[in-house]
């Protein structure tokens, strides 16, 4: 069954090509290099007896006499209750110094999609105690949502903070191209925050082979899916998905595929979507919520990675200059909870405060250009200042209802009732007396 091949014809990038029979698409192979190094590889193209494989550990130092043994199954990931608290590498090996998981069930990664009619409409609000999230773009259980960040912003801190405050049953971290320090940072925060014993980490660091990046989201999500089916509310953190997309680009270029935009393959949208779509609220079981980080090269949101991501995910949080930007940030699922699970005034407060802040920025701009300050401008300037200090500051750590009360207080300090554009019955009920 496990026939061994020892003649590799071509080595191109991290892809090797050889002649082999009876191989199936996406099958896994174990490669042993002539110097004893081992790696797994996956079949990505077959043409008669010519088989192309991508080598997870990369083809650097690969001998054309390395041994290739096909394993008869696609990539799998172990799953059992013992997996909680454990840390694995990008190829699925334990890297926490503990022994491999015994007696685990092996699950194929990248499995089929959930039948849409087996999904339920998301309905649970996840309180993060960050007003820019809770009021303006609330996170909903089973949502898939990336943080769009310019490089250098504290996105991993934000991710860790949400993970600690969101009360998920299981947290799964998929680190893709993480700096070593960031990996240790997550580990420390999770240990200190007391969530490590319900966490599983798949960590690919920047020093690891590029191809292994491709596996991390699939492994993390395959494990999440198992916990979800068992009724657990799972939070998956993926950082940084731009590094994942870059790995896709490298492979597709090595495969001589026609690139569509900036070298990325035409399938980028589908490739990202098949991962993000694993976010789900199962009917009669648990859920998977995905929070990801997408760094925007050059801060450009029209770059293919954030752009395609934005079309796939249910909103995004823009992180720049140390704050979550109120414009552009979006939670597409907010209407499922706003005013339904949360207070009745939540919707009007959310919309009006943003609209007023947009106007305030116009006034600011006008004045910075040296124009005369009108009475209206004064109001808006005052409002902008309060909005920035009371809501946008990432240090703010308050429950939603307190934040809403603060919103009314802020509006009442700056405006008259007729200036905020809110339905009368809501004004009557909530306007501070």
């Amino acid at each position: 069954m496990f026939k061994e091949y020892t003649r590799i014809n071509n080595i191109i990038g991290d892809i090797i090509e050889l002649e082999a029979q009876g191989v199936s698409y996406r099958e896994l192979a174990a490669i042993t290099n002539s110097n004893g190094d081992t790696s797994l590889a996956q079949v990505i193209k077959i043409e008669e007896d010519k088989v192309s494989l991508q080598v997870f550990a990369g083809a650097k130092g690969m001998s054309n006499r390395a041994s290739v043994r096909f394993l008869g199954h696609p990539m799998q990931v172990p799953y059992s209750q013992d997996i909680l608290g454990r840390i694995f590498s990008g190829s699925g090996e334990p890297i926490d110094g503990k022994p491999p998981i015994e007696g685990a069930q092996e699950n194929e990664i990248g499995g089929p999609s959930v039948n849409p009619i087996k999904r339920i409409v998301p309905r649970n609000f996840i309180e993060t105690r960050i007003p820019m999230i809770d009021i303006f773009n609330p996170l909903v259980e089973s949502q898939k949502l990336p943080i769009f960040s310019t490089p250098g912003e504290p996105y991993n801190d934000l991710l860790a903070r949400i993970a600690l405050q969101a009360h998920a049953d299981v947290v799964i971290l998929g680190g893709i191209g993480l700096k070593f320090d960031e990996y240790i940072g997550f580990r420390r925060k999770f240990e200190e925050g007391g969530v490590m014993d319900r966490t599983v980490m798949f960590v690919h660091t920047a020093a690891d082979p590029v191809v292994e990046r491709l596996l991390v989201p699939d492994m993390a999500l395959a494990v999440a899916e198992q916990f979800g089916i068992e009724g657990k509310r799972v939070l998956v953190l993926l950082t940084d998905m731009t590094a994942f997309a870059d790995a896709l680009k490298e492979i597709s270029v090595a495969m001589e595929q026609v690139p569509s935009n900036l070298g990325y393959p035409g399938s980028l949208y589908s490739d990202l979507a098949s991962r993000y779509e694993k976010a789900v609220d199962f009917e009669g079981a648990g859920s998977i919520t995905i929070l990801a980080v997408t760094t925007m090269p050059g801060g450009d949101v029209t770059h293919p990675v954030p752009d395609n991501t934005g079309y796939i995910t249910e909103g995004q949080y823009y992180l720049n200059e140390g704050v979550i930007n109120p414009f552009g940030s979006l939670s597409r699922l907010k209407q499922l909870v706003v005013g339904k699970v949360t207070r009745k005034d939540h919707g009007p407060v959310m919309n009006s405060m943003i609209r007023l802040y947009a106007k305030a920025l116009e006034s600011k701009k006008k004045i910075s250009m040296g124009f005369e300050k009108t009475e209206t401008d004064e109001k808006y300037l005052r409002y902008a200042e309060l909005f920035e200090s009371r809501f946008m500051d990432l240090k703010m750590d308050i429950p939603l209802n307190d934040a809403l009360d603060l919103g009314w207080k802020t509006m009442a300090e700056c405006f008259k009732q007729s200036e905020v554009g809110i339905k009368k019955d809501i004004i009557d009920a909530y306007w501070p007396k």
Binding site: P116, R119, S418
Partner: protein, 592 residues
């Protein structure tokens, strides 16, 4: 399941969802369906290129596990949909598999290689014959009818037949399954038995009608900015391009909910599953005022979401339009919402790349434009052979890369559609909904429908609308000028124009999708609201100072805005209208 032609072949190559098959014996037809046997599963695929003895197939499923030498059975038939009673209320994947029937066997996940009949073979329908023995029928003419979810579903003579057929036998009124023989017709000397359902190749336009006619009637969507400013005609086409997060899908949902048509077909093509889930759960709960049934009763959902196989995504749009054409043959008014046509185009691009075709712009295939045009041209208003009219209106969303409308899919679409409802990132960031840009968008139908609009809505309708659009344009120019020269740099008259344009934008063009009353404005209300607003837009006001003007308009704007939240028969509404009239009469001197 496999009704095989005699042709068989075997796999010689696999590249993603494309496989290369060598024919062992028999002939092959371009675009025919074939099945690859993997373990005990048969995976559906379609021939997309033939080169000598080899053909290239796109597989509609995940190709994991396929290996060289596996057997392929060809069917000789092109990819087709089943058409007949029982489609309404259905939730199908891109290949018309009923998702509800897949669930029992497969738990949470869609396992590959499972295909089910789109129409129930067991359900009993009360058939009423319409044609009589001896009648001569053209393709698609009515043989009889059944009641399907409050709609009279006509049973059609074979849509694919050439020439006229003579009815030889037809069953009396009674209960039948769709597989029962309900009539026999003679065509070209041959007797053909007919059932209540037939098949239609999805990629072929259905043309069993007398003629296409010029659409000049308004499709009422109950969205003010669409119906009043950028109307879509029944039987017309429109596109909604917009950057991500600008509200394309929310707008599509509103159109599917509130448009006054007989049937809505929603094609969720390569988009999020969650959006479909909302429709599936919401629609059965919403009452359709027209029929008394639920919205789901008049809806068909074709759902090939982004994580489902990409080849089936390409097919899904065709499946949707083919079903729409079928209902049009019954003299019905059908709306197709395709979300998103960019994902459909990308599916073509992925396959084109695997076929190693020479790429056009942004790696899209060179035939992108003709495919897009071919799709939109399947919409239209037609007169059937019996004189009845039927319409298919197609509204597609476009998801341009980077929100840039200069990209190939948007541009190719703009060439063929009648209305362009462009969503703007700026407006959505400012929480203006719908975020349709009132300056960039256009509708060719406003001229095309001029007579019917001025007859049905108001005799001055189109001239009032054009005037309002001018005010928006000037207002926006004044707004831009103010950012350069400040409020002190413009005249009081210009400021008033600016405030008028803001009033129009805030209280009429924007609409609160989440408010029970404001979410949908029927056309009578649009006319009366607009006429009142138009008085404000065209009134002469005299103010002492600019702050006076601002204060007056802020108050007036709030009244117009609050009014949207009340029904026209409520006392609050009358009170607000009274206050508005009073303010207008005062010419600006009176502050309410």
């Amino acid at each position: 399941m496999i009704d095989s032609s005699s042709t068989i072949g075997h796999v010689v190559g696999i590249n993603g969802n494309m496989i290369i098959v060598e024919i062992d014996e028999g002939s092959v037809v371009q675009n025919e369906v074939a099945f690859v046997t993997v373990d005990d599963m048969n995976l559906k695929s379609e021939v997309i290129k033939v080169v000598g003895k080899r053909c290239y197939l796109q597989v509609f499923e995940d190709t994991t596990g396929i290996s060289v030498g596996m057997k392929v059975n060809f069917t000789g038939n092109m990819l087709a949909v089943e058409i007949g009673p029982g489609l309404l209320g259905g939730i199908y994947d891109g290949l018309q598999n009923p998702l509800g029937l897949l669930e029992n066997k497969q738990g949470f996940f869609l396992q590959r290689g499972q295909y089910k009949d789109a129409l129930s073979r067991e359900k009993i329908w009360k058939f009423m014959p319409v044609a009589k023995v001896g009648d001569k029928l053209n393709a698609g003419e009515w043989l009889g009818e059944v009641e399907e979810n409050f709609i009279t579903h006509r049973i059609l003579a074979p849509l694919g037949m050439h020439g006229r057929a003579t009815v030889k036998e037809i069953v009396p009124e009674g209960d039948y399954k769709i597989t029962d023989i309900i009539a026999k017709i003679e065509i070209n000397g041959k007797i053909v038995p007919l059932t209540m359902f037939q098949e239609w190749p999805v990629k072929k336009a259905m043309k069993a009608y007398r003629e296409r006619i010029y659409p000049e009637e308004l499709l009422i969507t109950k969205q003010r900015i669409v119906d009043s400013m950028f109307p879509v005609a029944r039987g017309g086409t429109a596109c909604i391009p917009g950057p991500f997060g600008a509200g394309k899908t929310v707008l599509q949902h509103l159109l599917s909910k509130y448009s006054s048509v007989d049937i809505v077909i929603v094609v969720a093509c390569g988009e999020r599953a969650g959006e479909v889930v909302e429709l599936i759960h919401e629609f059965p709960e919403i009452k359709d005022p027209k029929t008394g049934g639920s919205l789901m009763d008049r809806t068909i959902i074709i759902c090939n979401t982004s994580s489902m196989p990409v080849a089936a995504r390409e097919a899904s749009v065709y499946t949707g339009i083919a079903l729409a054409e079928y209902y049009r043959q019954m003299g019905l008014d059908v709306l197709v919402l395709a979300d998103s046509t960019s994902r459909w185009a990308q599916a073509m691009r992925e396959m084109s790349g695997r076929l190693e075709e020479i790429p056009g712009e942004e790696a899209f295939p060179a035939y992108l434009e003709s495919r897009i045009a071919g799709l939109y041209e399947r919409a239209g208003l037609v007169t059937l052979h019996n004189g009845e009219k039927g319409a298919v209106t197609l509204i597609g969303t476009v998801s341009p890369a980077g929100g840039n409308f200069e990209e190939p899919v948007t541009q190719a679409t703009l060439k063929v559609v009648g209305a362009f409802l462009g969503l703007s990132r700026k407006r959505s960031d400012e929480r203006k909904f719908p975020a349709i840009d009132p300056l960039d968008s256009y509708s060719l139908y406003i001229n095309q429908m001029e007579d019917s609009l001025n007859r049905d809505l108001d005799k001055d309708w189109t001239s009032m609308i054009n005037r309002a659009r001018d005010i928006l344009k000037i207002g926006s120019e004044v707004g831009k000028m103010m950012t350069v020269v400040g409020e002190e740099g413009i005249s009081l008259d210009d400021l008033i124009l600016y405030l008028k344009s803001e009033l129009l934008d805030f209280t009429y063009l924007q609409q609160n999708a989440f408010d029970d009353i404001d979410c949908a404005a029927d056309v009578e209300r649009q006319v009366s609201d607009f006429k009142l607003l138009f008085r404000a837009l065209t009134s002469d006001f005299s103010f002492e100072t600019k702050p006076d003007a601002r204060t007056f308009f802020t108050a007036l704007q709030d009244k117009f805005y609050q009014k949207n939240y009340y029904t026209t028969d409520s006392s609050e509404f009358s009170k607000l209208v009274g206050e508005i009239e009073e303010s207008l009469a005062s010419g600006g001197s009176h502050l309410v």
